[in-house]
């Protein structure tokens, strides 16, 4: 077994030969060891490879690097899952160009869960979208759904954070080697996911994050998920690539509707236009996969209740004063700027500032550049 892994690691470490070609090699020679031991003539005889590729493979026939990596993964409790192994996620086997070797850190049992939903979105998203992503992932995870994301800044990391607490937990697929935390600012989240969730990567140990890695990573996110929720995405963003992969793989694509004026939601709104399913509550996703009985429905509803007619404070002790109630009624009624409140309520901005600050401290809403965002969508 150990010997086998050395060859699997070697195959993974070979650079300048695409994952696609490695897959072809595996199809012909069955095991990584056989590939290593195959002569250039044998590879040439397959007829799939150009002289350049054969030369590249021949040049890199050295297990030194793989042996070092082997020591490293044992020391750091990294699990390697080669394609074809029983623990290889069955969802991934079915996709086009599956990774030849997966590196994993954390709870590999998550790969075998019944239902996994990918949550993706823009790195610079509106405060609204961040709040929604957090709430959705939390609810999904509480319902036992594993949330798959890419640990990028913005929607991805917020979704992972939200899902960490629930039983569904989260899988983060990296665009770098499994031992490299990118972006570096997410180190805390990286550690938490290693503890409670699962980190996954197809890239060799120590690989830096490269621009080309991320679209590849996105196909794994789509592959591991039964459906992809696009929370907020710009045009031409990675989130849309993930959605494309999901469509290619025959998965469901969901999008959360946003105002047509929000620039950062152009892509997700475009998806809706093209027929993605509109999602306003977690139930909309779940109903596609599980039979939901009445009791469970209520549970879900309670977990992600949309803003009611009259706003109710989330906590008893944070009872709202009369002024706060008036402001909240206006805000939930769709007035989402300070200027708008001044006009609608005809009250001095000084007083409104004071009231909004109170509400902000009670963590009910957030004011940024004159725009009011509700934290409990």
């Amino acid at each position: 077994m150990q010997d086998d892994l050395i060859y699997d690691l070697w195959l993974s470490s070979v650079t300048n030969v695409s994952n696609m070609k490695k897959n072809t090699l595996l199809a012909v020679f069955k095991t990584a060891e056989a590939i290593y031991k195959a002569s250039p003539e044998a590879i040439r005889k397959t007829g799939f490879f150009r002289e350049k590729d054969i030369q590249k493979i021949q040049d890199q026939k050295d297990t030194n690097l793989a042996e070092r990596a082997f020591v490293f993964i044992q020391k750091n409790q990294i699990v390697c899952i080669p394609k074809g192994s029983p623990s290889y996620p069955s969802r991934l086997e079915k996709i086009y160009n599956p990774p030849v070797l997966l590196y994993a850190m954390g709870n590999t049992g998550l790969l075998k869960r019944d239902l996994a939903i990918g949550m993706v979105g823009s790195r610079k998203s509106s405060a609204d979208a961040v709040a929604i992503a957090k709430k959705f992932s939390q609810t999904l995870s509480e319902m036992g759904v594993t949330v798959v994301s890419g640990m990028a800044n913005g929607i991805d990391s917020v979704s992972a954070e939200g899902a960490l607490t629930g039983i569904g937990s989260t899988i983060a697929v990296l665009g770098s080697g499994i031992d490299v935390c990118y972006p570096a600012t997410q180190q805390k989240l990286y550690d938490q996911i290693r503890e409670k969730g699962l980190l996954l990567s197809e890239f060799f140990i120590g690989q830096p994050p490269k621009a080309g890695h991320f679209p590849m990573r996105n196909r794994i996110i789509a592959g591991l998920s039964d459906g992809i929720v696009v929370v907020e995405a710009r045009m031409k963003s990675g989130a849309l690539i993930t959605a494309d992969h999901a469509l290619d793989q025959g998965k469901n694509v969901y999008a959360i509707p946003q105002s047509i004026r929000v620039k950062s939601a152009e892509g997700s709104n475009q998806l809706l236009k093209e027929g993605a399913k509109v999602v306003t509550q977690v139930e909309d996703i779940l109903e596609d996969f599980v039979e939901i009985n009445q009791k469970r429905k209520e549970m879900i509803k309670n977990a992600a209740a949309p803003a009611a007619e009259k706003f109710e404070a989330p906590e008893e002790k944070l009872a709202l004063s009369e002024d706060e109630q008036i402001v909240m009624t206006a805000v939930t009624g769709g007035i989402n700027t300070v200027d708008g409140l001044v006009q609608r309520l005809d009250q001095p901005v000084s007083k409104l500032n004071a009231v909004l600050m109170m509400l902000e401290i009670k963590k009910i809403l957030k004011v940024s550049y004159g725009k009011i965002t509700l934290l409990h969508p």
């Binding site: 620039k263 004071a354 401290i361 725009k371």
Partner: protein, 504 residues
């Protein structure tokens, strides 16, 4: 015979009385100036020679020694031409009289015409303070000199007129103006009135609080949201200048040679470009000149695009913000210029400017934004009490809005709040408004009731405030309560004060 004539030099923004002594000795004809003269002073020899000769008097055929006392003070400029010329005439017995109650200065041209000099106001003020009765000065400087009451300002066109006056042949009518009236006349129009700015109620309110309590402000918002216009309108809601304040500002502008009218009638609004150097912001140079912080004295220093300024230029601001004056040490002298200004700064939320703007796409990476924000150091931010976000505005929406309050209305409230503060701090030396409060004074003057204390403790924990942040909220709450006319800081004041801490 030894002649002694009084003139005046400058040290910082103060005039220093200089005694010009002229003595004639036997020896080879020559001209020596002692008392640390610069080239401009030394060159007066040739101007004085021609001016005396061309006005029908004789230049003495002796060795001339001129001493400028106090001898350890650097003398510069051409203002000593006139006293040296008079001294020469007295020393050579061509002129007689007692000139001990008279002070004079002015540059001479070769035909004896008097030319204007800079720094007239501080010099005349110094003369008055030292008890001189009259000042003879160039015609063109007469208004600037006449601003000072209680001293006769005698404007002269040329050397001949001065000599004739000193000989008693002709009289020079003292020039008088009503400086208060001059001040009032100029104080009518401001560049931008608050009523011209539609919307942005939040930012306007923040500026009103800033004006009332003397707090510094940082405005953050996308391009075109009106930050510069708000800043330009800001002086119009500041309290009107008193005559003493006007004189102090005029003095600085007189020294810097920037005085356009006779008296500064408006609070200065300085908006230096972000390429400015440390020296131009603080003041200095071989011949020290006041910098932007002093030129903004009793007015507004507006730093547009704050993060674009050189880091060192921003750091040197810290000391004048704290001390309200700036001390420059150079080889020649150590000078102190007043620098009590209000800082209004503006910045974009990110390098491209569109972060958080729903209508535009921000193209900056997270790191770029972090780098951009980190260009403003914590210590500088700590000295800015109010941080306000100025959102982008929809032009179409603005067209329908009714105009806001006029600057006059707001200024009335500001004046009332300042009045309250003046009364409160009458026993505190050097404290005039809330922004100046030090921590021990905050404890004394910003007392909270139980409800307020509970609230602030909650804020402190939830927003993870620093000690300074805590004090900042208290100072602001005090100003907001003053604007409200309330003795006790209430919950609503505290809450509003907390809302101006965005950008943390």
């Amino acid at each position: 015979m030894l002649a002694k004539i009084f003139s005046c030099g400058l040290l910082g923004i103060e005039g220093i009385i200089v005694t010009v002594e002229v003595d004639l000795n036997y020896g080879l004809p020559g001209f020596i100036v002692v008392g640390l003269p610069d080239t401009g002073v030394k060159e007066s020899r040739d101007r004085v020679f021609s001016a005396i000769k061309n006005n029908g008097y004789a230049y003495p055929d002796k060795k001339v020694t001129v001493n400028l006392a106090p001898a350890d003070l650097k003398k510069e400029g051409s203002a000593y031409d006139l006293p040296i010329a008079i001294g020469l005439l007295v020393a050579s017995n061509q002129l007689e009289g007692n000139f001990s109650d008279m002070l004079c200065f002015g540059e001479l041209s070769l035909n004896g015409d008097l030319r204007p000099v800079r720094g007239v106001l501080p010099m005349v003020l110094a003369a008055k303070a030292k008890g001189f009765k009259k000042v003879i000065l160039p015609q063109e400087n007469k208004t600037e000199g006449a601003i000072v009451d209680g001293i006769d300002v005698l404007p002269a066109r040329n050397l001949k007129q001065v000599i004739d006056y000193l000989k008693g042949k002709t009289e020079i009518e003292p020039y008088r103006i009503d400086s208060q009236q001059l001040l009032n006349q100029g104080q009518t129009a401001y560049r931008v009135d608050f009523s011209e700015i539609k919307g942005q109620d939040n930012a306007k309110r923040a500026l009103e609080i800033a004006a009332a309590g003397g707090h510094n402000v940082l405005m953050s918002g996308p391009p075109g949201s009106g930050k510069s216009m708000l800043a330009k309108a800001f002086p119009s809601i500041l309290p009107a200048l008193t005559l003493n304040e006007a004189l102090e500002i005029t003095k600085i502008y007189s020294i810097a040679g920037l005085l356009k009218d006779n008296i500064m009638t408006h609070r200065p609004f300085r908006a230096p470009h972000h390429t400015l150097s440390n020296v131009s912001i603080i003041g200095g140079g071989t011949i020290p000149k006041p910098g932007e912080v002093s030129l903004a004295h009793l007015g507004v220093l507006f730093l547009d695009e704050l993060p674009e300024f050189q880091k060192s230029a921003l750091e040197v601001l810290r000391q004048p913000i704290e001390d309200h004056e700036v001390t420059i040490s150079r080889v020649n002298a150590t000078l102190t210029y007043p620098a009590s200004f209000m800082l209004i700064a503006s910045m974009n939320p990110c390098p491209c400017g569109y972060l958080g703007d729903p209508a535009h796409k921000c193209t900056c990476t997270k790191n770029e934004i972090r780098r951009y924000n980190s260009r403003i150091s914590g210590p500088l931010l700590d000295r800015i009490d109010i941080r306000v976000e100025v959102p982008a505005v929809d032009i179409k929406e603005l067209e329908n809005r009714t105009p806001g309050e006029s600057s006059m209305t707001i200024r009335k409230r500001v004046n009332q709040a300042r009045q309250i503060q003046n009364e409160r701090f009458q026993n505190e030396k050097g404290i005039y408004f809330n922004a100046q409060l030090e921590p021990h004074l905050i404890d004394q003057y910003c007392v909270l009731d139980k409800e307020g204390q509970d609230f602030l403790e909650m804020v402190y924990a939830k927003l993870k405030l620093s000690g300074r942040g805590y004090h900042r909220i208290l100072k602001l709450a005090r100003t907001i309560a003053d604007l409200d006319g309330a003795d006790q800081i209430g919950l609503i004041h505290l809450s509003e004060a907390t809302s101006y801490r965005s950008g943390q």
